[in-house]
Every structure is written in C-alpha cells, then in structure tokens.
C-alpha cells in the first residue's frame, strides 16, 4: 500500500477532571490513504470524538496529549507551531460536524460564508469564488444553488444544511475530510441521501474521508476500512466486509449482534451487552472488555491484550484472537 496520507501513532489523550485524568484515548493507531473511506465506530465514551478532534487539532482546553503523534504528509501536526496548525485546518484537513448549524454563522448569508471559506485561495476574485460555491452546492445536490447562496443558515432544512456543510468542507479542497456523525441529526431518508452523496463523492475526490459514527449501518453502507473503538482503544481494524462478516474481537461481535437492524425476523428480546464500560479514570490493567466478555479467562484480566495480526488488513486487540 502507498504511503499513508494521515497516520496516527500510539496516540494517548487524557482529560483533566480535577480528581485525576480521564484516559479518553489510549495508544490509538490509525492510517488513512488517499481515495479511501475510513470508518471509526464505537459507542459513546469510546474515544472516537476525541480522536476526531485530535485529527483536526481542535481538542478541548483540558485535553492532554500524553504520548504519540499524528503524521500528516510525514510531519507531526501535534508538535507544529500554532500558525502551521491553523494553516492545516481547512485547506488540508477539514471537518463536517454532526450539527451543521455549528458550521455556519447564523447572521451571514450562505453565499458570503462559502466565499469566506475560500479565503486561503489567492488570486481568485470573489465573483469566481461565489461561482465555485454555487457549483459545489449543485454538486452536493442542492436543487437551487443560487437561491441557497442568498439564504441564511436557519432558512435551510437540516438536510440542506448538512449538504451545504459538506460543500463548505470541499470548497477548501482538503486532502482529509473528517465527518463527525454526519447523519445522526437527520431523518432516515435524508441519511440515505447523505450516505449516497458521500459515496458518490469518492469518484472525483482524491483525498481520504474519515467517518466517525456510532451507527453500524452507516459504516456498512459507506466505508472501505473500519476501526472499532472501545473504552479509549482501537480494539479491531479491518476491511469492512471482514469486520461485519468475520469479526475477531468479542466486542465487535457483540456490537454487531446488538443492532436491531441486523435481524430480519421479529425478535422480541433483543441481545444486549451486559455490564458497563470500565471507568477511564483508572483503566483496567488487563483487557478493557474482560468484564463483559463471554470468553474472558483470568489472563484477560491480568495482562494487557496483544494486537493480534489476523491478516494483512485485519488486526484485533484480544488474547483469544486467532488468524
């Protein structure tokens, strides 16, 4: 495989919480190549949002990078000076947020904002930038781009705003597009349309798309490769088909089994994962999933699990995982 566009190495991030540090992210590794759609999936508190925030360098003020690095085109973005980091955001790495309302300033028209998103492009007139914005709005499926450019954000529906925020991100021609729960706030018909749009974008977009979500259906529909996260760790990675059809980590298996969309037949009692996620204030020494795992033996509680190579593309963080 070619050199990765973005590479997260051994990244650990904690949040100061007064009584100690919450280990939100522990030794996470991730790679994204151009033209690839990556899925980061997990439940709330698994660290996926922290990872996404770290990728675009927008960590909360009380977050601490304890170790690790994020290499973008070979340079560590975490150790860059503030100015270089700022130049990276947008033109190189852009983000689509869950609530598209947060992307836009409510008192400025869409047109002016979309022109402003291109501020880093030099030697192009505002008329030209506006024309480009209109083109991209049409590209993301907004029926009347000219009208949309004259509107204020609140005058657009949720689905239209999400399309516009994808257009805004693409306007900056980023090499990496991070989408944090891009469909969570949308209805199912609009969700399907946004998935369709993102999938269709791949044909003419050379960069990497990283989708962060809790929705297994979205990942299955959209992604090429998947990272499954649990309690601050990446517990499994692999091609989307392997993750759904040959998962090796017990958590991945349990998570997929829980999804009610998984059953064709009427299932009155749905499977659940018993127990709770361990406290990340003092993460367990052994496997984080041991207390909820059917396969757990004493070794799982005493020793940190190894990163087992299942195949060229699939890895699992589990004592019991076998190729």
């Amino acid at each position: 495989m070619s050199e990765a566009l973005l590479r997260v190495e051994n990244l650990s991030i904690g949040y100061d919480a007064g009584i100690g540090q919450i280990q939100a992210l522990r030794a996470a590794n991730l790679e994204a190549h151009g033209g690839e759609v990556i899925g980061i999936v997990g439940e709330s508190g698994c660290g996926k949002s922290t990872l996404a925030a770290a990728l675009i360098n927008l960590l909360a003020p009380n977050a601490h990078v304890n170790s690790g690095a994020i290499y973008y085109k070979g340079a560590d973005i975490l150790t860059m000076d503030k100015e270089s980091q700022r130049h990276l955001r947008g033109p190189e790495i852009a983000m689509v947020f869950q609530d598209p309302m947060t992307t836009f300033n409510p008192v400025i028209t869409m047109g002016d904002q979309l022109v402003d998103f291109q501020h880093h492009i030099e030697g192009v007139s505002n008329t030209e930038k506006r024309r480009r914005a209109g083109e991209l709005l049409a590209r993301v499926g907004i029926p009347d781009p000219e009208l949309c450019l004259r509107r204020y954000p609140h005058e657009l529906s949720g689905g239209m705003r999400q399309r516009a925020s994808i257009a805004a991100a693409l306007l900056m021609t980023p090499n990496v597009l991070v989408a944090d729960e891009p469909t969570t706030a949308l209805d199912v018909t609009m969700e399907a349309q946004i998935i369709h749009l993102l999938r269709e974008l791949r044909t003419d977009y050379q960069g990497a798309i990283i989708v962060v979500t809790h929705h297994l259906g979205v990942v299955a529909e959209l992604c090429d490769r998947v990272y499954v996260m649990y309690a601050g760790q990446v517990v499994e990675q692999g091609l989307v088909d392997d993750i759904y059809h040959a998962p090796k980590h017990p958590y991945t298996r349990a998570l997929i089994a829980c999804d009610p969309a998984h059953f064709e037949e009427h299932t009155p009692i749905l499977p659940t994962i018993t127990g709770r996620v361990p406290s990340l204030l003092h993460p367990p020494v052994g496997c984080s999933f041991a207390d909820r795992c059917d396969l757990a033996i004493s070794r799982c509680r005493e020793m940190a699990p190894p990163w087992v190579r299942i195949s060229e593309t699939q890895f699992a963080l589990c004592h019991e995982a076998r190729p």
């Binding site: 439940e43 399907a192 979205v218 299955a220 088909d241 999804d259 009610p260 998984h262 994962i273």
Partner: protein
Amino acid sequence: MTALLDIAGLSVNFPAGGGLLDALIPGRKRYIDILDGISLSLKSGETLGLVGESGSGKTTLARAILGLSPISAGTITFNGAELRTRQSFTNMRRSSAMMFQDPVASLSPRMSVGALLTEPFIIHGVAMQNRKVKAEELLSRVGLSKDMASRYPHELSGGQARRVGVARALALHPKLVIADEPTAGLDVSVQGEILNLMTELKTVMGLSYMIITHNLAMVRHVSDRIAVMYLGRLIEVGPTREVFKMPLHPYAKSLIASEPQPDPRKRRADLAIKGEIPSVLNRPRGCEFHTRCSIAQDRCRSEAPELQAIGIDRIVRCHFA
C-alpha cells in the same frame, strides 16, 4: 379484544401568527393544517409503532391523544369513554403515560429523582405509605439502584434518565404508554436494554404501547402493528411483519428501503427516495407525497387519495395500491 384507544377523523390545526391584533380582530386568525383525518385504534395489550420522518406529525398526534394539543375535529375514545372535556383528559392521564424523546430535558431540573418518581401519586392523590420506599420500589423495578433517588436529572446518563422516564411513566400502573423515540440518543447496546425492559414490563403489567419513532429497525421488533405517517396524514397501517415484507404505499416502501443495513454486502447502489418532506406551510395539492413519489401521475397532483382497506387488517392511502 376491544379497542383501548380509538381515534376517529382526528384533525389538529395550529393558529398561525397570534399576536394581540389577531386575537382582537375577528376573522384575522389563520390556521395551519397539522393533522387531518387520522383514524387509528389500539387494542388492549397491543404495541403500535407510529413511524414517519420529522415533520410528519407523529409527536403532535401523541400530544393530541393526551389532550396536550387542542383537537380541531374528530373524536378520541379511551377505554370506552370519549375524551372531550378537560376533566375527561385529566382522568385519562391517570391511566396513561408518556415517555419523552429527550429523557433528561423531560425531567424537571430542580427536582430529585425521588421527588420526580413519586410526583404522579401526589398529583392524582393516590395514597402511598412512604415516599422514600415508593421511590426505591420504582427504581428497582427499572433496574436502578436506590441511591439514584437523591440524584438530579442532569447527573444521570442517557440510559439512566431513560429508565427514570420508564419508572415515572409506569408509576400509577397505566393502561397505555405513549413512548416518543424511546431509544433516541442511546447506544446500540443500551437500546436493547431499554426495549427489553419495556417488553418485560408490558408482559408483567399488561400495558399497551404506542411507540413513536423513525427508527424502523427498532419498531420492527417491538411492535405488533405499524402506522406510517407523512405530512400529517396516515398513509399506511398494517401488521408490522406484512408491512415490512410488502409495503403498499410508495412512501412506506422507500422508507423501509432507506434504512442503512449493517451489512456491507447489502449496499444499495441507487437511492430509494430523493428530496425531503415539504413544509406544512406549503402543503402540496392532491396527494401530499406526489412531489417525491416515483409512480406519481397527473391524478395524484390534483386529487388527494382516500384511505382504503386492503384485506382485513391493512389500510393505505394511495391511488395505486
């Protein structure tokens, strides 16, 4: 089995505007058509799933049933008695309950969980020996520990707040529980816990549920029948299994097809439905769905279809069903 709840020809209009002048000048008031011609019944012990996109009017319907939204036309009969007066709704609220979409926001922020749980008893003047004991009993019924009683709503996790919502809804042993998006915002693994809890309590307490949701995967497993709504109209009603197997209305069909499948081998190449639900302020003429419908004809643009019965237990509102 007799119908526990029977809704016939229900309409809800909201006044538009409504300033001082609108109130003073007669004839100035205008109304927005939110719900129209809703006829639906719920048998005792049944779970009905009410599905549709946001803006389809499903939450308004739930509120109208509980007398929280004024009804413009039609009747609601609960347990054999027609709900018309304020008093009849108050009586009905004694034996019905609602679970709200946002579990934390629907709990009064300055009351402790214990006070919230025992409030229904105080409101309806139902005797209880000891508030503390009662609160603990309700907490244990939904699988929460006793010390939760002294917590405040913002101190609860989504799943815990959801359980408190369930406990509060079931406090007075209602006959009917209306659950608005009971799993919204919950993780997949917790979703199952809440749904299983609801199913278990249904069997133990003999409840009937009306579950309002846009989560088709969930409603498929918990409901006996489903009713699909679009822009304030009921467009299809039938047994869950049959509707999922063979939806009759083109909207129901595309809604079911839109649901992302957790299986990369079942990816859809095409798009089941385009565009979005129109605004109630700008209601399409004729059939409300014709703007997005793949089989729409001229007739659909001018003439609104009526609900028609198909077989013994299915109804659909489409010219071509």
